[in-house]
């Protein structure tokens, strides 16, 4: 494990820089987007009242001071009070985070559990009609716009076939359509990559050797192929999980799913800066942590990386 500590240290350093850049951009964009105070008060509020609220929110201080206060608070996990909900922004986001994680995890595992066997099967039955059908679906899934996919699912599976509810959060039936919509892109990407990774391994010399010495086909796949194809599959799967978080904004809006994606869109409309900042920060943090874990998994899966 030589070089492990510097490797991890370097990754953490880059992650921190990325987080700092993200929070700075969010701060600048949100501060440019106008004064939220008129939205909070009745239209006929007296000037003294407006000034008082501005002062309470710290909006009357110079921008660099606001920025400094913002950064030092972010480090302590304090994003200020929500302007709209009048409670700490972190608490608001925490209240919505569960729904997003539930949807994201379901979509992710659905995608991985469906896509890896499909990719494996496609590779083993290369050029069969089933392989062609699966890969055509994967191509469409990769380029179809998420929001329209959601609309199609609602139209066909909720309204016409009446199998699932059209929107909202509740029992498992509410999860199916949003999870399919959100997971479609990941599913398609993972299936395509699994197929090509397995095909590459199947062409390797050691597979020929294994077959030549009489190893059963089951064992060739289970022991020799999957383990060697795992590295690219884990990479793309991890990246897909991060991408899901961005897709959640659209999916949650289409299905009225009460998660942080929809919260972000609503908060931008409410000019609720603290909640927007907190949401974006939490989303970026999740993404970075996931990529970090994926990087560590490489070393676990590929002994060559560990020694270098």
């Amino acid at each position: 494990m030589r070089g492990f500590v510097p490797f991890v240290g370097h990754r953490i350093f880059r992650a921190l820089i990325a987080l700092w850049l993200v929070s700075t951009v969010v701060f600048v964009v949100m501060r440019l987007s106008g004064d939220p105070v008129p939205l909070l008060l009745p239209p006929d509020a007296p000037l003294s009242e407006i000034l008082r609220v501005r002062h309470d929110l710290g909006l009357d201080r110079p921008l660099p001071v606001q920025y400094g206060v913002f950064l030092s608070n972010v480090v302590r996990g304090d994003f200020g009070r929500s302007i709209h909900y009048r409670v700490p922004a972190v608490d608001v986001v925490r209240g919505y985070l569960g729904a997003t994680l539930e949807l994201g995890m379901t979509a992710f595992f659905l995608a991985a559990l469906v896509a890896v066997p499909i990719g494996l099967f496609s590779a083993m039955k290369r050029n069969s009609p089933l392989d062609h059908a699966a890969m055509t679906f994967a191509l469409i899934g990769q380029s179809a716009p998420t929001f329209f996919l959601g609309i199609l699912f609602i139209l066909l599976l909720a309204l016409k076939a009446d199998l699932f509810p059209t929107s909202g959060r509740g029992d498992w039936k509410h999860l199916v359509l949003p999870a399919l919509t959100l997971g479609a892109f990941a599913m398609a990407s993972i299936a395509r990559l699994t197929r090509s990774a397995v095909l590459e391994v199947l062409g390797a010399d050691y597979i020929r050797t294994a077959r030549a010495k009489g190893v059963s086909e089951m064992w060739v796949v289970a022991k020799h192929t999957l383990k060697n194809a795992a590295i690219p599959i884990v990479t793309i799967t991890g990246l897909q999980f991060g991408t899901l978080l961005g897709g959640a904004v659209v999916t949650e809006t289409v299905f009225s799913w009460p998660g942080i994606g929809r919260l972000a869109v609503q908060s931008i409309n409410n000019r609720d800066y603290p909640v927007v900042q907190c949401t974006v920060f939490v989303a970026a943090l999740l993404f970075i942590v996931i990529n970090f874990v994926v990087d560590l998994l490489y070393g676990f899966l590929d002994p060559r990386i560990r020694t270098h």
Binding site: R14, A15, I17, A18, L19, L21, V22, V25, V26, V29, M30, L32, S33, G34, L139, I140, Q142, S143, A144, P145, T146, F147, F148, I151, L152, I154, L155, L159, S196, G242, L245, G246, A248, V249, V250, T253, V254, A264, V265, I268, N269, V276, T279, V280, A283, A284, F287, I288, N291
Partner: protein, 269 residues
């Protein structure tokens, strides 16, 4: 190639919209509201894609909507391509601290659900053609920069570049005369894939109400309007959606095809 032909066809449709569209895309008709696809509607005209909640002809709106998709899509590709190519070449050629700064920004952008940033910027500047083009262009520069940087890095150490520099050729000359032609095919491939992504992103933002504003017809906006009528008038959202999906699939397949054709080194990335 079928994909190129499709894009050309779409461009012709967009340009010839006033002559091709069977009706004015903005003309409302209270009596002809929510008519299903028909050859002879209550007004005696054919509405092959039906009419929407204001009685406007959906086919005509889809035809006019292609203008928005193509104009925003192509312009965003130009903005993102110029910025990304310039930064990628600079990063690859300059190396050192400048390279580190550019690539850290690229990483940070990738570490970020860009749609949130897009929503934020559009909320500030207000939705318009120009804002959309800049925001969508900005969202795409990283892909150009990364690929060009890696290609420049490998070209930079080749003998012919060293030879030019030894002969006194300026950096600018090396970049313009020797690096750019070598990476042009990569740019074309990335640009095609980016075109598909830009068109979808424009439709997504319009769907969220942050893109092209009504009554101007755009595919994303039409899907948003039709969403409330899915139960009673499925055709309002479905036709623009299917055309959008077809466009996205065909253009990104064209990008994949071009990649295999022009640039074997990119295959499998």
């Amino acid at each position: 190639m079928a994909g190129v032909a499709f894009v050309l066809f779409l461009a012709v449709v967009a340009a010839a919209a006033p002559w091709l569209a069977p009706a004015d895309p903005l003309r409302q008709s209270l009596r002809g509201r929510l008519s299903p696809p028909t050859f002879e509607g209550s007004d005696g005209r054919a509405h092959l894609f039906g009419t929407d909640h204001l009685g406007r002809d959906v086919l005509s709106r889809v035809i006019y909507g292609s203008r928005v998709s193509l104009i925003v899509g192509f312009s965003a590709v130009v903005v993102g391509g110029l910025l990304g190519a310039a930064l990628g070449i600079i990063a690859g050629f300059a190396g050192g601290r400048l390279d580190a700064v550019i690539m850290t920004i690229a990483d940070a952008q990738l570490a970020f659900p860009f749609i949130l940033l897009a929503i934020g910027i559009i909320a500030v500047l207000g939705p318009s053609f120009q804002t959309l083009i800049v925001v969508i262009g900005l969202s795409g520069w990283v892909s150009y920069a990364r690929i060009l940087r890696s290609q420049v890095l490998s070209l930079r150490s080749r003998e012919f570049v060293e030879a030019i520099q030894a002969l006194g050729g300026s950096v600018m000359r090396v970049v313009l005369r020797h690096i750019v032609p070598n990476v042009l095919s990569s740019i074309v491939v990335v640009a095609t894939l980016e075109l598909a992504r830009s068109i979808v992103l424009e439709a997504t933002l319009s769907f969220l109400g942050l893109g092209i504003q009504p009554p101007t017809p755009s595919w994303g906006g039409m899907i948003q309007e039709g969403r409330d009528y899915l139960d009673t008038a499925w055709w309002i959202a479905t036709f623009p959606g299917l055309i959008l999906m077809l466009t996205s699939v065909v253009v990104s397949r064209t990008g994949d095809g071009l990649r295999d054709l022009l640039d074997p080194t990119l295959r499998g990335e």
